[in-house]
Amino acid sequence: MATETRTVSVRLDPDAGKRLDKASALMRQSRGGFLEKAGDEAARRVLLEWTARRYRQGGGTFSELAQESGLAVEEIMEHLGDEERSAAMEMFLASSRTVAEAQNDPAFLEMAQQAVASLTRPDVPDVRAHGTGLTLRETPASYTAAAPVAWRRDGDRLSLRGASDNQRATMERLVRELSAVRGGGRGGSAALAAELAGELEAGFLTRATVEWLSQWCHSQGPGYRGRAQRAARAVSEALFGRVIPALPRGDAGDAAWRELGTQATD
């Protein structure tokens, strides 16, 4: 399907132009590419806040808000959910208390409290298999945010500090899928997947491998786009909870690597 793109012109004063030149050079992007990304990120932030406000005011369903804003339904729901979670759990417990009192059944409240407590555990199973053959790539949302895979940055490598069995199984499965998506040769996904699998097995990731993964996540080359890129991004999300930024060699890449390490250590 052909993608329609629009061209937007901007006028910058000399200082703004200088900042743009420097920032885009640091990120190894064209000025247009840099503005496109920065503009889209800013627009998303504004629209996520707007859709959350509208939803709370009863100003639209998720589908309506997605259509109006151009955001994905799931993106809106994730954002709204992050903001509403604590209040929602308080209401859950308050409702459970009311039910327990109305039914004269204190055990109901105890079970509800146990249910809430179980959500804060990082090892809560993410899905019931039930023989459907379904594979899911997401741990369920929990009262506190689901614990990410924990990493520690040691120079040019990230050491795996902790991952649940589910997280390990997810990582392994997604790396296998990446391997199959565009196989052969040094430039194929199998080579990257083999590096990832070997290093994960040994409990670390080298910067070179993470850089390689970031290339797959962000390259605009025709060999990467589509299924291959989605598979690489899914691996990144499983490893780091998000699609990692581009990690070019140089100052910008160093900064992004340090930031990745900082977030990984938190």
Partner: protein, 167 residues
């Protein structure tokens, strides 16, 4: 035999994120409108799960012929129109306004919290698991607290009755 059911994207996202999707697939033969599919993007986890199910043939597309419902967003509208054209199907929906409208039109609508109670009543999950599933749905922050509260009340009544029977 499984019930046929039409659903919208927010229901899918809720049951996926709450870990209930496998049970939903086990219980229903799911059908989706094309516009619902377009709302579930592969760049997000629930969208990826959706497209995996489509590719596996676990769920299939059906386009509504008529645009009877004109209100709400394109996803809810399409899911409702599909259900209106197949009156023996169920409609799986979590947004309150379209949910009310659907029941007013005589459609058999089920929201995710009520689904959890139904799964308990059918013996597919235990009482603690039902409460944990409801807690997960609540924790998403996007399922109406009123729907969760109604399901809790329903579950409390069912549990109480079951205990009395056991006494």
């Amino acid at each position: 035999m499984k019930h046929f059911a039409s659903f919208d994207s927010s229901f899918w996202i809720h049951v996926h994120r709450a870990g209930l999707l496998a049970l939903v697939l086990e219980r229903y033969a799911l059908r989706f409108a094309p516009v619902v599919a377009s709302e579930l993007r592969e760049t997000f986890p629930s969208g990826r799960a959706f497209w995996e199910c489509v590719r596996d043939g676990q769920i299939t597309e059906v386009a509504p012929r008529l645009q009877t419902v004109q209100e709400f967003g394109p996803g809810e509208r399409a899911a409702m129109n599909v259900a209106l054209e197949h009156r023996d199907w169920l409609l799986l929906l979590d947004d309150q306004r379209p949910f009310r409208d659907a029941t007013a039109r005589g459609l058999r609508a089920i929201c995710s919290p009520v689904l959890v109670v139904a799964l308990y009543v059918e013996g597919r999950i235990g009482a603690q698991e039902a409460l944990t599933s409801l807690a997960r749905l609540a924790a998403l922050g996007t399922v109406s607290p009123h729907l969760v509260a109604a399901a809790l009340a329903q579950l409390g009544t069912v549990l109480r009755a079951a205990r009395k029977e056991g006494d």
